[in-house]
Amino acid sequence: MSVLSLRRDTATPVVASPVVVSAVEVGKRYGEGDAHVDALRGVSLEIEEARLTAIMGPSGSGKSTLMHILAGLDRPSAGSVSIDGVDITAMNDKQLTLLRRAKIGFVFQFFNLLPMLTAEENILLPLSIAGRKPEQEWLEELLEKVGIGDRRRHRPAELSGGQQQRVAVARALLSRPSVLFADEPTGNLDSHTSDEVLSLLRDSVDELGQTTVMVTHDAHAAALADRILFLADGQIVKEVRESTAAEVLAAMQEVSGR
């Protein structure tokens, strides 16, 4: 897979990229019989390579559940999910573990850094778990890119929220995963630091070709996406490409109104 570099340009026509993640008729049901709740119903989608896809929706829409299933953290009650053409819904725990090492990166809302490791150690953690040595150049480049170069030996407690999230992003990018899942990455940050982190994510899509899926309720964040999927009541109800924040808000209202 070659690293494509795409520039954002409102006039660029949609180019069909290879599909990295695909979901077919995914459903998630909790409970049985009369007391059941369908968090997701027949959701099918395709995540394109080297694109930033946002998943939005009001609370209860099932967006978190969908992301968990796409990322292999949860099993659907119906349907299937494949990453890089391989069906992950049938995988056992060992296979999923290997998948997470090789193909999946995570960025969490609450950063999820290990408090007793330094920033650098946190970034290297996925590789050390997999027992692989880092490419020193790549590491330096990443540290530079996220702007943590001079604070690499600091512990999370000594870093601001924004810095911690940037470390988390570097951690996710280090192993060059097929897809990076970001769960409300700006949920715990103020608007200024949100911007820093969002532009970081955007840059990694543009410059590194990193396929990224972001779940968010922040219209401002969604506005940076190449494609936005709107969820309501467990189904995809709307899809837009490249919108401004205002358009996103309008779409949200429309979706919520249903």
Partner: protein, 849 residues
């Protein structure tokens, strides 16, 4: 991952140290007991070995029975003369010296005329040849050896403590009171005395005279230069009679050490036992603490999983954490144990239990066992939380609000718990009630069953928390206000954690309850047994209750006007078919007035003659004897004689006052050398003081009323009980650490919640009290679990010993005390966590994630 673990431990230093303490104490006890006993052992080794270093051969009487009152066969002065003329003999001297028997007893009187015999320590009276003093471990420090019939040397400890100086008069009771002049002071090796014993040293002739011995205990021989020990012994053997043996100096040193070695081994096993209990409790604490910290690190561990850590890596990381904790704690424990051994050594010295010193012996075995056991317990206890950690789903990394443990118990775990309890009961039942089981297997099934019972109860405990907390928490809820009600709710809310904390305390309380109930049963049975047998108003015994009385005591009481009956009872060990048994000699005319025989085969005491013996039912069945059968009795001095069974009686199995073989006094005196009394049973209308006046000539004798005698018989048990309580207190201390740990962690976990309550008006004081109530409730749950388990265990043992006349009676007083102790433990444990909870800054707490 290793770095994650190690940095994690370093990051939580305070918590880790607190957790580690649970293991440190147990390991310290284990290593301390090894170091202490090894050191004492070596010290004795050195002394005994050196004392015979210049002796090539030692001639002594053969030992027929253990603990005889009259001692082994003696070496006659004729044999000594013969020995001096044997080829190769350089020097030979006869001495009165015996550390392992009871036959050389001389009681020193202090300046007020009271017998010096603290704590039942031996009171040795020896005779050492002043011309050949090198044949023994005693060394003069002041003055000279005794050489005359009114001279004596005593040990330095007694001289110091009671203010004796060379030239003073010393009264010593052996038979009657004898007066001596102190001519020297001696030490045992390099220590003032050995184990608190008093030692009086006369010259051999004087010693023989006062102890009424017509021969020597030993004859020490050194060879002419150029003659080997083996040669010497070969030359000596032919001239020695059959009741006497010869061995090398080394072999003699080893036999002398035997008694000491057995005693030291006993101390070691007891101390190790308690160390084991402390470690077991420590294991519970580790299990609890690690379970909580694993639960608190759910998000962290789940994140590792999302980053690609496999289940096995998570398992290994938690196990590694326990391993590091275990090894670290064990090393610290080992060091503390060494310090503890030194402390105990100093304590013994202060308690006048002077034991010989050597440099601390830290054997490789001590290091290996201490570190091994500590690490093993920690890793084993940490295994369950580790397995639980692997079950954390990766998705928990994103879930809001971090999962605290709820401790909900599944159906499966209840079944497993009941299975463990069932298995433990079966194992205990097997060990207690099945006969014909080899002893090691029996001990294994008893100890294993008890441990399994504790584990099983701890597994069932979460289910019992709610009902128990409602009961023991009622005072808190009723009188503790908001704080009390909240505390009760907190305890119920997380039954798994409450149960695990309470379980650690449960073990200690169960054990003290067990000991207490069993001791009460034993005391009760003892009292019953004696009351059944005894028909006398008074009993004369020695100060310590087990040494022998001179026969003059009985005679003196009998001669006192106003005494209807004074029946002397002779006592001595003897051997029948290789078994040691107690033989009593009674006066057939008077014994039935003071002792109730429970006849199985009725016999007329009047017709008991010089060849007849009354035997106990047990002995009759063991040796297949009936009325009319004959058997051979061997005395400690080696003389054998025939006896015919005249009657069979059934003394209580527990604390019989008469022996398995009962002869007439006349028969007894005829065959046993230096006969002495074990008791004198008296019927008299006189008062105790009047009778005491009759025995002033024998300062070691006391006259006790019947009830005082019964209490006296059980006083040793009370001392033992107190010592057990102290040792078990250690396990309570360990569980205290566990409680503190758990409370600190639970306060930490509920930071936001506490912050919220403070924000809506809970005062600092109420916060403290809430934590304190919670701690007390948990402790009382531990008591509510432990006390019944202790009673159950005691009931099991009592049931198994029912054939000895044991019956169960529950001592309410001590049990209530234990409950109070538990509550106090809860209060103490809460001090630090309560302060922490109260000091939480409200704003920070509210924002805590």
């Amino acid at each position: 991952m290793k770095r994650v673990v190690l940095k994690g431990i370093l990051g939580r230093k305070f918590r880790t140290i607190l957790t580690a303490f649970a293991i440190v104490l147990g390991v310290a006890m284990v290593s301390g007991s090894y170091v202490l006993t090894d050191t004492i052992s070596k010290a004795f080794n050195v002394i005994f070995a050196s004392s015979y270093s210049q002796t090539d051969a030692v001639i002594s009487g053969k030992k027929v029975v253990q603990y005889s009152q009259s001692g082994n066969a003696l070496v006659s002065p004729d044999v000594l003369s013969l020995v001096r003329n044997v080829d190769g003999v350089g020097a030979a001297s006869g001495e009165i010296i015996d550390y392992t028997g009871n036959s050389d007893q001389a009681k020193i009187l202090d300046k007020q005329g009271n017998v010096i015999t603290g704590n039942g320590n031996p009171t040795f009276g020896f005779g050492i040849d002043p011309d050949q003093p090198r044949f023994n471990p005693l060394k003069l420090t002041v003055g000279r050896w005794a050489d005359g019939k009114d001279e004596v040397v005593i040990d330095a400890a007694t001289a110091d403590k009671y203010g004796f100086h060379v030239g003073d008069r010393v009264n010593i009771a052996v038979g009657g009171i004898h007066r001596f002049r102190l001519v020297g002071i001696a030490k045992f090796g390099d220590v003032a005395s050995v184990g608190g014993a008093t030692i009086s040293i006369f010259d051999p002739t004087t010693a023989r005279a006062v102890l009424n011995k017509d021969g020597f205990d030993i004859v020490s021989v050194s060879a002419k230069p150029g003659v080997s020990a083996a040669e010497l012994i070969a030359n000596l053997k032919p001239v020695l009679p059959s009741t006497v043996q010869v061995q090398t100096g080394n072999e003699q040193a080893k036999s002398d050490e035997q008694g000491v070695a057995t005693f030291i081994k006993l101390i070691r096993y007891v101390l190790l036992g308690f160390g084991g209990v402390a470690l077991f409790v420590g294991g519970f604490v580790i299990f609890n603490t690690l379970s909580i910290t694993v639960a608190q690190r759910t998000r962290e561990l789940a994140t590792l999983r999302t980053l690609g850590a496999s289940r096995r890596q998570v398992l290994r990381s938690v196990v590694l954490e326990s391993l590091v904790l275990g090894v670290g704690a064990s090393v610290v424990g080992l060091a503390c144990g060494i310090g503890l051994a030194q402390g105990l050594s100093a304590l013994f010295k202060a308690l006048n239990l002077a034991l010989p010193e050597a440099s601390m012996v830290i054997a490789p075995r001590t290091v290996i066992v201490s570190i091994g056991m500590g690490t093993l317990v920690t890793v084993a206890a940490g295994l369950f939380p580790a397995i639980r950690a692997t079950r954390i789903a990766p998705v928990a990394a994103v879930r809001e609000g971090g999962a605290g443990s709820t401790g909900q118990t599944s159906r499966r775990s209840i079944i497993a718990a009941l299975a463990v309890v069932g298995a433990s009961v079966a194992s205990l039942g097997f060990g207690l009630y099945v006969s014909g089981v080899p002893t090691p297997l029996r001990i294994l099934s008893l100890v294993g069953g008890a441990l399994a019972l504790f584990v099983g109860t701890a597994m069932v405990a979460p289910r019992l928390v709610k009902p128990l907390a409602s009961v023991v928490g009622r005072p808190a809820a009723a009188f503790g206000g908001v704080a009390g009600r909240l505390a009760r709710g907190n305890a119920i809310r997380n039954p798994g954690r409450t149960a695990a904390t309470a379980a650690a305390l449960m073990i200690g309380l169960a054990l003290v309850t067990f000991v207490s109930v069993l001791a009460t049963a034993l005391r009760g049975s003892d009292a019953k047994a004696i009351t059944r047998q005894l028909n006398a108003d008074y009993v004369a015994v020695t100060q310590n209750g087990w040494a022998s009385l001179p026969t003059g005591v009985g005679k003196g009481i009998a001669a006192t006007p106003g005494v209807q009956v004074a029946s002397s009872v002779r006592g001595e060990q003897a051997s029948v078919n290789g078994s040691d048994i107690l033989v009593s000699g009674v006066d057939p005319a008077t014994i039935a007035n003071v002792y109730r025989f429970d006849w199985k085969e009725q016999a007329s005491l009047a017709r008991l003659d010089g060849t007849g013996a009354i035997v106990s039912k047990t002995m009759a069945s063991d040796k297949h004897l009936r009325v009319g059968s004959s058997f051979v009795l061997t005395t400690p001095a080696g003389t054998k004689f025939d006896l015919r069974v005249h009657g069979i009686y059934a003394p209580p199995r527990f604390d019989p006052l008469l022996g398995q073989v009962v002869l007439t006094t006349e028969t007894f005196d005829r065959h046993f050398q230096r006969p002495s009394d074990s008791l004198v049973l008296v019927r008299s209308t006189r008062s105790e003081t009047e009778l005491a006046a009759a025995v002033t000539k024998y300062p070691d004798a006391r006259v006790l009323t019947r009830s005082a005698f019964i209490t006296d018989r059980t006083k040793d048990m009370q001392n033992l009980l107190n010592m057990l309580y102290v040792l078990l207190a250690l396990s309570v201390v360990v569980s205290l650490f566990g409680m503190v740990n758990t409370l600190v962690l639970s306060v930490f976990e509920r930071t936001r919640e506490i912050g919220m309550m403070r924000a809506i008006g809970l005062t600092r004081r109420q916060t403290r009290r809430m934590v304190r109530h919670e701690s007390v409730i948990t402790a009382l749950i531990g008591a509510a679990l432990g006390i019944p388990v202790g009673i159950g265990l005691a009931a099991g043992v009592v049931g198994a010993l029912a054939k000895y006349g044991l019956s169960l009676s529950i001592p309410i007083g001590p049990l209530v005390t234990f409950g109070i102790v538990a509550a106090v433990a809860g209060i103490i444990a809460a001090v630090m966590p309560a302060r922490r909870a109260a000091r939480l800054d409200v704003l920070t707490a509210l924002q805590y994630e």
